[in-house]
Symmetry: C2
């Protein structure tokens, strides 16, 4: 099947570019770096792509949700870190059930109440649950404060007999594209501040005799400046990318596009395509037209987009299929059930997005 | 199962409120109005809810996508208007296939090239395809211009032997919440202008001997001020609503919420919940906390939200489940596979969202 024969809207991966991204990141972690790579599944949500990441040298996979972990573990990928807090009786029971089939499963904790519940469930089911203490190193979302509060909390956690303390998590999400908001210099400063908190926390935990074998964090926008203060890096977007992240990390290619059709050409100042808010997320800006120079995409509702000619290199034709670069890969991918993997203009493979909608 | 036992994030419908909305709209169209109701499926995307709308008096269902129409027709709901242009060989073949199983299926056209292709395919398959001419009455998206251009195009369409001209569509999307952007008076003016274009187009088409049996348009934000210039109204959001549409149409209750859990309470100034951009859309603003006064929700990434205490009526507890009103029902619903229908605090029914992700 040719790319142009795919029904629209559809989500495409340029396989050559994706493989280039896999190799770019894998080669960074090869050699004497002393830091491992545990790519994040919240972006691609496909066990087939996760398997490629492990083939290319990753020591395991990161994910955000229990439902995501389930799709990995049932696909045979069992070295999984849930980079998030798992709270509530139902989820804790499910987590321990998964743990029985995935000895490499780990989870984050930042509150003693769910940590105790997790420990009790683990003991009841005859397993130990490996955990990382989640530490706030600048994002101000989840996580205990670094330094002494982290040490105090880790001590409490290490007393819980159903848990096995493996280290801590130190992810700073807003730092990833800090350069786009505040400039490169400000990003460097914030990164140094955050790295300082990470080192301080590791040293304090070690001084207290606490395990810091795993220090997990960083992303596509910070791996180069943070890998040296951690034992593993969690970057996810690098494999497929979007136009926005590409500004910060241009070493990775934009391998992901939305295929769309021109469905209406009612006037010379607008060309309507069948891709709207339900097919390309706009939380990080509008998609950008890939193929033809001089058009600007704007959403025109849930099912429509309008391409406005600015300095158009040519006219667009009714029925023509075009590709859009999404502004945010994660939330766009989560709208689709499958990827069409394209090479040399043909569909080479269709990959199910097994964790699409796995928000629980 | 109690509401509080549902795993999170989850999408809930308050059945009492939904039934009230169904009745509020149904009662509006009862009696001597002379206008029918054809509710839009792009919002609820569930054939079970569409069936309730037909039970309550709707003459059929509107939808945007062929994939949506398919989920209706395979569920036995065959009076379906696709309020959109269907373009491209594959889609046209599929449309005519569906037409053979749904004599009440109609579609919009605004360009002679796909209209001819549609006619040819219909002739080849031995059916007539009922169509509406899509007319631009102010939204400036799809549609031919009103008045003479619409008449000229409708004449061309009526010559195509595989098509059966049934009338025209006159939907003005941006008019729905025009009041929130420009004020009520400006909305009234724009509505009168749009209604004038609709009447002019109908009269011109009638004068030219063209069929105007169906004049279809309006939404939850305009049905009261537009029903009298059309034969049927397409409102969709009214059945479930969101907080934003509720400002414009307060006669309908906010029956839809996202159930979320407090998963981290790291500081007194923030409470982290497990609902982010992948579980509540933000294209029309942030969700609003339903249960507890004095907290403001802000997205904190794809999987997290932060509730910031402003004038909090009480503390939030780790593990506590809360409900959020989405800002935009359509794009939020499209993230979920099922609704939990709640009555008196218990799960009464689970409705699959059959057309979730049916963007093709």
């Amino acid at each position: 099947m040719l790319k142009q024969e795919i029904d629209t809207p559809a989500l495409l991966i340029d396989i050559d570019l994706m493989e280039k991204n896999l190799e770019t990141m894998a080669s960074f972690f090869r050699g004497e770096k002393g830091t491992y790579f545990r790519p994040h599944y919240k972006t691609p949500k496909s066990p087939f792509l996760a398997a490629k990441q492990i083939e290319s040298g990753a020591i395991g996979i990161s994910c955000q949700k229990l439902g995501e972990a389930e799709t990995l573990i049932t696909a045979g990928i069992t070295d999984v870190l849930i980079t998030n807090e798992i709270v509530g009786d139902y989820k804790i029971k499910k987590l321990i059930s998964l743990r029985k089939h995935a000895p490499g499963l780990m989870v984050c904790v930042d509150n003693i109440i769910p940590a105790k519940a997790l420990s009790e469930e683990a003991l009841k089911r005859g397993v130990k649950m490996p955990v990382l203490v989640d530490v706030n190193v600048g994002q101000n979302r989840c996580g205990v404060e670094p330094g002494k509060p982290a040490v105090d909390f880790a001590k409490e956690v290490s007393k819980l007999k159903g848990l096995e303390l493996k280290g801590f998590q130190c992810y700073h999400g807003t730092l990833q594209v800090w350069d786009q908001r505040h400039g490169l210099e400000a990003k460097q400063q914030e990164m140094e501040r955050s790295n300082g908190l990470i080192v301080e926390t590791r040293e304090s935990m070690e001084a207290a005799g606490l395990n810091t074998a795993i220090v997990s964090g960083a992303g596509t926008g910070t791996y180069k400046g943070q890998y040296h203060v951690m034992s593993e890096v969690q970057a996810g977007s690098y494999i497929l990318m979007d136009w926005k992240y590409h500004i910060t990390a241009p070493e990775f290619e934009r391998a992901l596009t939305v295929l769309t059709t021109v469905i209406s050409t009612p006037a010379r100042d607008r060309f309507v395509v069948d891709a709207g808010d339900k097919t390309a997320s706009t939380d990080s800006g509008m998609p950008i037209l890939k193929d033809v120079e001089g058009y600007e995409y704007g959403t025109a509702g849930d099912e429509h987009g309008i391409l406005t000619p600015k300095e158009p290199s040519r006219e667009l034709k009714i029925g023509e299929k075009l590709e859009l670069y999404p502004s945010h890969c994660d939330t766009t991918i989560n709208l689709y059930d499958r990827y069409y993997g394209i090479r040399d203009g043909e569909v080479e493979v269709v990959w199910p997005i097994a964790a699409r909608g796995k928000s629980q």
